[in-house]
């Protein structure tokens, strides 16, 4: 947003008299206040447009600060009702603070959103779903984003998540991301597809999926997919979930079945079987690197006289290089954008998708099956 941005902000505190009705009525005041501010400062009247309700659950000060910063950026592009549920260890009651915000710039219409911050202690968490159900905007989708690690098998997680149509976690923030994938897959299977779930780690891999898919758009290259023999990946320490999800995506898309896994000090090796019972090997190797994430994916195939090798390699936080070598084709090499998106950007992409992401669900299932084999 340009330097001419002006923020309007109106905030009301409800500590003393908390009811859902009072939240709604305070919100009306907040909007009226915003309208008055806009008139005074000669900006366009704020328009109360919403496309969704986003519930964010943050536990402890660090997560709460993180959530606020992410939301401040996100809502500039996606007007919504945001309900931030802050869970504080020592808090005994439930309190709420309501605010409405608009950001204007000269070239744009104002983007406005309303934020309800509910603070609660662990013991009162049980009451939260009943409040959320009343506060969600009717007829528009409700998303819930668990910003930090959460026990995906706890009743608390499933009770609160049930208030939404789409659940978003970020397995990169989990202490045991591989294990959490298994739990998340179980959780979704348990919900029989009534609830859509996703993972920001998956969203961050979008550029990788696009670059790999793009390399096989050409029909000649597509042929080589059925004769893949080996997939080599490298990743920075702490990013094995990224590599595993990518492997899960490839195997599920190509119709291969996870078969076996083994692990050495820095390499996880999987094998999968294609429809013809051919074995395809996956080598996932941790390298000491700059903490960027997934660093390279190479797909190698041979079929009779033909062979191909497609490599996508992350150069830095902004770019990747794609190399394609294929029998009968000139060698192709190019540098493309591959940006480390911030949380608000990946979250923003996820919030535009309303239904289930079956490609993700299949990838997660396969990744979870690999994870249990290690």
């Amino acid at each position: 947003m340009s330097a001419s941005t002006r923020d309007l902000h109106s905030e009301l505190d409800l500590e003393s008299s908390f009811t859902v009705e009072s939240i709604e009525s305070e919100l009306k005041h907040a909007w009226a206040e915003l309208g008055a501010q806009a008139e005074e400062s000669n900006t366009l009247a704020p328009v109360r447009t919403s496309i969704l309700t986003l519930v964010v659950v943050a536990r402890g000060e660090a997560e709460i600060t993180d959530a606020r910063a992410t939301l401040d950026r996100l809502v500039r592009v996606l007007p919504s009702r945001v309900i931030l549920v802050s869970v504080l260890r020592d808090k005994e009651n439930i309190s709420a603070r309501v605010s409405a915000h608009c950001a204007f710039s000269l070239s744009e219409q104002g983007s406005c959103y309303e934020r309800i911050e509910i603070e609660t202690g662990q013991t009162n968490l049980r009451a939260i779903p009943s409040i959320l159900t009343q506060l969600e905007i009717s007829d528009l989708p409700t998303f819930i984003w668990w910003i930090g690690p959460v026990d995906l098998r706890s009743p608390e997680f499933s009770r609160i998540s049930r208030a939404a149509q789409r659940v978003i976690i970020d397995s990169a923030r989990f202490n045991h991301p591989l294990e959490s994938m298994g739990h998340y897959a179980e959780y979704m299977a348990h919900n029989h597809g009534d609830l859509a779930g996703t993972d920001l780690t998956w969203s961050r891999l979008l550029a990788w999926r696009e670059l790999l898919a793009q390399s096989f758009d050409n029909p000649a290259a597509q042929e080589m997919l059925s004769s893949l023999q080996r997939v080599d990946m490298t990743y920075d320490p702490g990013y094995e979930a990224d590599a595993l999800l990518t492997a899960g995506w490839l195997t599920s898309r190509l119709g291969w079945e996870p078969d076996a896994a083994s692990e050495t000090r820095d390499t996880i090796t999987f094998s999968a079987c294609d429809q013809n019972q051919r074995t395809v090997r996956f080598n996932l190797t941790e390298i000491s690197g700059a903490g960027i994430g997934l660093r390279s994916v190479r797909l190698v195939s041979h079929s009779g006289q033909k062979s191909s090798r497609v490599t996508v390699r992350r150069l830095d936080r902004q770019r990747a290089a794609v190399h394609i070598e294929m029998t009968g084709m000139p060698r192709q090499q190019r540098v493309v954008k591959c940006i480390d998106n911030t949380d608000d950007q990946v979250l923003g992409t996820e919030l535009l998708q309303f239904g289930r992401d079956q490609v993700y669900e299949h990838a997660l299932n396969h990744a979870a099956r690999f994870a249990t084999m290690i």
Partner: protein
């Protein structure tokens, strides 16, 4: 060569999503096939300001195929390096993503080369042919070619025939050869037919992509979404409920130094024949059976074919033209049209035009469509206003409803995209008093994300072979047919006067009178 054909089996095959299992769930169904794009007129303004920035932006967004190449063809003497440096400067100024990324530009620029040549010299196409072969071998473009005619239209015929003579327009090996042409596409029906014939000498109609950059705008595509993704408008979108439709494309700028071009062209040819006719057909068309390019264009062209012919002898009943005189726009004094550079003394070229058109079909019989466009109007705005009929029976006393106006739905296209519905409510109080209020939706407040430039969308679609957002031969000719009737009428008028209006206003009094006669008036957007 053929004119328009219904979607052939061959065409359908070309649109089958590629069977790439990794594509499922991703943004687009496929990237275009590897190809080389030859830009004729590559040293010109369009390439510098629009095409290259759009191509770089597409490359940056990872939407171009590996091995994508650009071959510039133009008059001036340049080597590939200075050509690239010139293009880079344009990208630095006009890309959506600035500053430009050096590594990505370098990688993209590896595929750029330049062939110096004269459009009219067949020998120079030999060098182009050699370069194309080299690009196929070195970059894997597999014989797929996109020719972009960024040239004045008088060169089209020669370029196409020279390409044909070097066997550059057709191949037997399944590779595609397409051509993109720019506006202005002709200056009347006859010249447009001539251009179509020349272009179709070399390329099948399905390989011809005529650009109307309005169709590449997100906002214009939204008209399709608004009309056909919502069930509630369709039942009232017809003569029973609609009183009239107003389409406004107003600019506050003048002719911006393009005097010699504009003075030969005028508002009717420059805006009405293409952009406004496109808006009209999108608003008035029947729902297509699918979003397939020809399904959409078949419905659009039916609207243009249904336009009631204008009798040139009675042109003043259907059209008003005018010119801006000096005045003030946004508080600044501006010169009148005839005082602009490179405009002929006493020029009669219209800078403003208002039209009344009828779509003679079941849905729209006798509903007037009023179109107006002009330069140096009060403000920049593009919108479509659908005026509904008044209520059939006045239930409220005349005092209660004295301010009452019929419902109005406005689709706002520029500068802010959105829509507004005007309806009546009761003013709070002890008596029944009514007044109209507006319910407004603005896209920017719901989706505050940037949209691709029209050229990005159009270049990508052309590479994918999707012609939905391009004008087909029959559409262009149908639009010219109506416009030519007006031009003929004007040329027969004895007077050597054209109404003048003050710059910065909403146009001439004659245009107001044009609507007032029918008990209507123009909106003040």
């Amino acid at each position: 060569m053929t004119t328009t054909q219904p979607a052939s089996t061959n065409l359908q095959e070309r649109f089958q999503p590629a069977g790439n299992p990794l594509r499922e769930g991703l943004r687009i169904e496929r990237t275009p096939d590897p190809c080389a794009m030859v830009i004729f007129g590559a040293s010109g303004d369009l390439t510098y300001r629009k095409l290259m920035p759009a191509l770089y932006d597409l490359a940056l967004e990872r939407l171009l195929p590996a091995g994508f190449s650009v071959i510039g063809f133009a008059h001036r003497d340049m080597d590939a390096e200075s050509f690239k440096a010139h293009l880079r400067e344009g990208v630095e100024r006009f890309s959506r993503f600035r500053p430009i990324d050096d590594a990505i530009w370098e990688s993209f620029a590896e595929g750029i080369s330049y062939v110096r040549g004269d459009f009219n010299n067949p020998e120079d196409y030999e060098r182009l042919s050699v370069e194309l072969t080299a690009v196929d071998t070195q970059r894997g473009s597999m014989g797929n070619r996109m020719y972009y005619l960024a040239t004045p239209p008088e060169f089209y015929a020669n370029i196409v025939s020279c390409l044909g003579a070097k066997h550059l327009t057709h191949r037997e090996d399944g590779a595609w050869q397409r051509v993109i042409v720019e506006k202005p596409f002709g200056h009347d029906l006859e010249s447009a037919q001539g251009l179509n014939k020349a272009v179709n000498e070399g390329f099948d109609e399905r390989d011809v992509f005529r650009i109307d950059h309005y169709l590449g705008k997100e906002t214009v595509q939204n008209i399709l979404a608004f009309r056909f993704a919502n069930g509630i408008y369709e039942p009232i979108w017809n003569r029973q409920y609609v009183d009239h439709v107003e389409i406004t494309v107003a600019e506050s700028i003048g002719i911006e130094g393009r005097g010699s071009y504009y003075d030969d062209t005028g508002a009717l040819r420059d805006m009405a024949q293409n952009h406004m006719m496109q808006l009209l057909s999108l608003v008035a068309m029947e729902p297509p059976g699918s979003l397939h390019a020809d399904a959409v264009r078949d419905e659009k062209v039916k609207v243009l074919h249904a336009l009631r012919p204008i009798n040139p002898d009675l042109v003043n009943r259907s059209a008003v033209r005018a010119q801006y005189a000096d005045g003030f726009v946004s508080g600044k004094q501006v010169p009148g049209y005839r005082e602009e550079d490179r405009v002929a003394d006493g020029s009669l070229t219209e800078t403003y035009v208002a039209l009344k058109l009828f779509v003679d079909n079941w849905r729209w019989a006798d509903v007037p469509f009023y179109l107006r466009t002009g330069k140096r109007l009060a403000k920049r705005v593009t919108e479509i206003a659908v005026h509904f009929k008044p209520v059939p029976h006045r239930l409220f006393s005349s005092q209660a409803s004295q301010n009452l106006e019929p419902n109005l739905l406005v689709l706002e296209i520029q500068p802010d995209e959105g829509m507004a519905l005007k309806f009546a409510v009761k003013v709070p109080g002890p008596t029944m008093r009514l007044r109209p209020v507006n319910m407004v939706f603005q896209y920017g407040t719901a989706f505050n994300t940037g949209s691709p430039d029209a050229y990005e969308r159009l270049l990508l679609d052309a590479m994918l072979g999707d012609g939905t957002l391009f004008t087909r031969r029959d559409e262009v000719e149908a639009a010219w047919r109506t416009v030519t009737q007006i031009l003929d009428g004007w040329s027969n008028l004895p007077d050597d006067q054209i109404p003048q209006f003050e710059a910065g206003t909403w146009g001439p009094m004659e245009a107001d009178a044009f609507l007032n006669r029918e008990g209507r008036s123009w909106r003040r957007p």
